[in-house]
Amino acid sequence: MSEQSPAERAVAVDLDSPRFRAGVHRGHWRLLSHTFPILLVAVAAIEPDGNQREYSFRFELTGFPGVAPEVRKWDLSTNTLQAAERRPKGSTRVSEAFKAWGGGTVYRPWDRLAGAHGNWATNYPTLAWNPKRDLAFVLEDLYGLLTSNSAAQRVRTSA
């Protein structure tokens, strides 16, 4: 029987944490599969037209939490990176976060590749990764982005 690596143990602890479980209970995200170092998670979303759906993400977690997660918008049907035209739509913040860029990952400072460019760790400390972060930190940011269209809906429907 093989022993778990420190990174594998850290991921297991995170998945059992109150913060991760609270997100599951709230219906904000759900675990699809986990075979270290790959984790697949579905995150709830609200489209610009107000419809609800989910988007799937693939986390590569080698070296976690000392190394930031590498997170890609994932197409479960083909088990590949999701095509750019099928990615989440919404405000500038949403389109920037999920745009197709050279690294192929989610374009946020907590991502391993995105965070390593443009001096983002210094420029965006509240969104940058550090070893005290957890998976729920990333998932809360993704959920916040993916449901941000609800704010526009709230203004439109009540106007």
């Binding site: 109150p18 500038t92 400072p109 704010a151 203004v155």
Partner: protein
């Protein structure tokens, strides 16, 4: 048999778990959270997340309660004020209210009626600060009895590589 519950509350900085015996009174939740938050359980109210009214402490606990986040606080209500561009709006919420619910109200037509184009980019920060608060945080985290007021600023969220910073 114990039930494991997710809780927030006065004096807690994050959601935590507690274990209480199934079939006991909901008051057991109050006692457990009060011990963590270092306050007297007799003065505290028990809420379900995003509810403005406390639940009866004699309610019998069952497994269905494990699927919801609860909150224990000595404040029955919190008077919330949100500032934006020289104006402010006020409303009273329960302490178990998530930041996201306050934000939805603040950007909506009963709040500042923010333009739908930029409404999705708005966030709440504690008044006088610039860091966006986690949307799932209960507002009771930021209030310590006997105070029952809380002020936020409505701010534009960070767009890395964008123009808002």
């Amino acid at each position: 048999m114990d039930i494991e519950l997710l809780v927030e509350g006065e004096g807690l900085v994050e959601v935590e778990t507690i274990r209480v015996p199934e079939g006991s009174a909901a008051r057991e939740i109050v006692i457990a959270v009060a011990a963590k938050g270092h306050f007297a359980a007799e003065e505290a109210f028990l809420f379900v997340e995003d509810s403005d009214e406390p639940i009866d402490p004699v309610l019998v606990l069952d497994k269905s309660m494990a699927g919801r986040v609860h909150h224990v606080h000595r404040a029955h209500r919190i008077d919330v004020r949100v500032f934006y561009q020289g104006r402010h709006i006020d409303r009273r919420f329960g302490p178990s209210t998530r930041v996201e619910r306050v934000l939805d109200w603040a950007v909506g037509d009963r709040g500042f009626a923010i333009d739908p184009i930029i409404a999705p980019e708005m966030e709440l920060a504690l008044h006088g600060q610039t860091t966006a608060l986690p949307k799932n945080a209960h507002i009771g985290r930021y209030v310590q009895h006997p105070h029952c007021e809380l002020a936020f600023d409505l701010i534009r969220g960070i767009v890395p590589n964008g123009a808002s910073r």
